[in-house]
Subunit: 354 residues, 2 copies
DNA sequence: GATCCAGACTGAATCGATACAGAGAGGTGC
DNA sequence: GCACCTCTCTGTATCGATTCAGTCTGGATC
């Protein structure tokens, strides 16, 4: 069938090792012999060393995995995720490795197999929340990984690249509070494991499921606590799924209440854009003036004139990949905090007089 | 170091084969023994069969490659490419395989190695134009592939999913011609190997480098030939790179000529959006009324009210992956033509009187 | 009691390469 | 002339599993 190293060796009349060297260690044999070998390989249609066999022997694969908590098809609709991937792609490209996209499908058994069977040298963990089992599998396989979101139970020496979620969110909250808003709604995806979409009452921010969301909501709350608005006075709205329609649906009834919020702080740009969609969908005469903020600063945010918190998406991806590909000797250098910035645009303004 | 199958076997006191069967062929051993083996494995911290070794022995890997002509970092900025990837992702996900993103970097040697070394069972070739060598490598490796763009020298039995580029483009051309436009510019990326950006004279459409571009430009030309406007009378504008700024730059001087075009037909939405950018950048009093059409119907096109030709991006990706993962028995079924549709929006209109 | 059989497990061959110790040839230096 | 090197190339062990032809055991069948 397909020719192997041995076949080439037989044709040329040298040992298998020599042919191997012709490909992988050209300095180990004379140029003329090397040429003869490569010529013979070409004649035979030998495509070069089998990648799988090579990986087995060498002990590494030459590609890294990107682990998504969600469906791959979703990942590509999330602009932040796409830009993150672009960053990972840029780094891997430069490093001469490829990236394997590993989705964590619904069925846990399948998902587990996917992580167990991925032929990679390490993982960039995009947003594993309570998928601690996935990290266990990775650890058990002895593979390095970099996480890009805060995790409960994260060990200190774990490689990480991310932002100070709470402080970043606080800056958005402070901006809105500074504009005078006091009746405020916070919007986030999957606040509790199985909570339905819509307003939700929670004893405290500690109960929020995902650390990232917890950090952001906590930051918003911090800013309002400072102006005397407590957690109980904030309206928390749960969304099921990080998408514009889901967010729009979740806030549907929000502005028809007796004392509706004058501002909505969303946990992501996608959610914020959904809120804007919901507002735009109302007839002009019945459209309240609501300040809206997002998080991430995806390209669409600028187009929609959305005030948001910028975090460097591509850089996050790039650094995640680099931490994996060239691990810093210094453990402290393995924990990277990226800068964030409040980007004030037209979607926020003072409280309307009414 | 890391435990292997053999270690587990030794601990339990059975043969290596039996442990292997415990994982891969549960019906080959008693349930009790299987449990004992899995327990021991857990105790030892054995993460399950090594994926690389398994692939080597079994002869397949369980992941497919997606081949990009361009840099990965670029691919993620192209909305059409992203949606295509989403489609591939959806299919692979359902099939329980992963996807390996293989970029074709500038350096041909590196690029070649990337294709040679990719541990995959087949390739979705996203937009290989004159990268025939990449297909040669794939063929030499004996791997199946699906191409998603027309190619010169494509053999008849090759798996393919795409659209009738020429007919689709013709519909856009006919729409614009029907609106009365006769002074028209055609805009495309990399019309000739090393042509500079800007207007370009070409003897005929046959000289266009990439088959996809050739088909689209040919379709535009067909529509105008029908109303008596020959190829010579059309202004062809070359862009270097499929990006908005590049397109904007390429058409910069176009509207300051004596008899400027009243319509621009672009080979992609991204280019068309660039044209709109260029127009928007002019002061209002000096902004000509130009009809613009795109191609693909990416999400941004709707937002920009761009008339365009829709092709199903995700479906293209999904079908490409499916053709690879479950090859149809019937060779004819391996050649899929997707439907396209002209989407008329506000960016096209009748020729202004003046 | 001999025969047959299904079920449970083993052993050796195999997948396609790489690594490393070592062999042989030819050249240098003193 | 002898020890010592360097340059090429070879042979063998090894990476970590899967596969398949058997072996063995115990029970059913006639």
């Amino acid at each position: 069938m397909k020719p192997t190293l041995q076949d080439v060796a037989d044709v040329v009349g040298v040992s298998r090792s020599t042919v191997s060297n012709a490909y992988s260690r050209p300095d180990q044999l004379s140029t003329t012999l090397r040429e003869r070998i490569l010529d013979a390989a070409r004649q035979l249609g030998y495509p070069g060393p089998n990648p799988t066999a090579r990986s087995l022997r060498r002990g590494f694969v030459g590609s890294i995995g990107v682990l998504f908590t969600s469906q791959l098809s979703y990942a590509f609709t999330d602009p932040f995720a796409v830009r993150f991937l672009a960053g990972v792609g840029a780094a891997t490209e430069q490093h001469g490795t490829s990236m394997l996209l590993v989705p964590l499908s619904r069925a846990v058994t399948d998902a587990r197999r996917a992580v167990e069977n991925a032929a990679v040298d390490g993982f960039c963990v995009y947003c594993v929340a309570d998928e601690e089992w996935a990290l266990d599998v990775i650890r058990q396989r002895g593979l390095p990984f970099v996480s890009t979101a805060p995790r409960d139970n994260a060990s200190a020496d774990e490689r990480f690249v991310g932002i100070d979620e709470r402080a970043a969110a606080r800056s958005a909250g402070a901006h809105v509070a500074g504009l005078g808003h006091r009746r405020v709604a916070l919007l986030a995806d999957s606040v509790l494991p199985d909570a339905p979409a819509g307003p939700l009452t929670l004893a405290g921010v500690d109960q929020v499921r995902h650390p990232t969301t917890r950090g952001r909501l906590g930051g918003f709350a911090d800013a309002f606590a400072e102006v005397g608005v407590g957690w109980d006075e904030l309206t928390l709205v749960n969304v099921t799924g990080n998408s514009r329609p889901a967010a729009a649906a979740a806030v549907a009834g929000l502005f028809d209440q007796p004392a509706p919020p004058t501002a909505v702080l969303a946990g992501s740009d996608v959610l914020a854009l959904g809120v804007l969609d919901a507002l735009a969908a109302r007839p002009a005469h019945d459209r309240p003036t609501v300040s809206v903020t997002g998080f991430d600063d995806v390209p669409e945010a600028a187009a929609a004139d959305l005030t948001t918190v910028r975090q460097p998406a591509e850089e996050k991806g790039r650094i995640a990949a680099e931490l994996l590909l060239d691990p810093p000797a210094d453990a402290a250098a393995g924990h990277v905090l990226l800068p964030t910035a409040l980007v004030v645009r037209g979607s926020t303004g003072p409280v309307p007089r009414s």
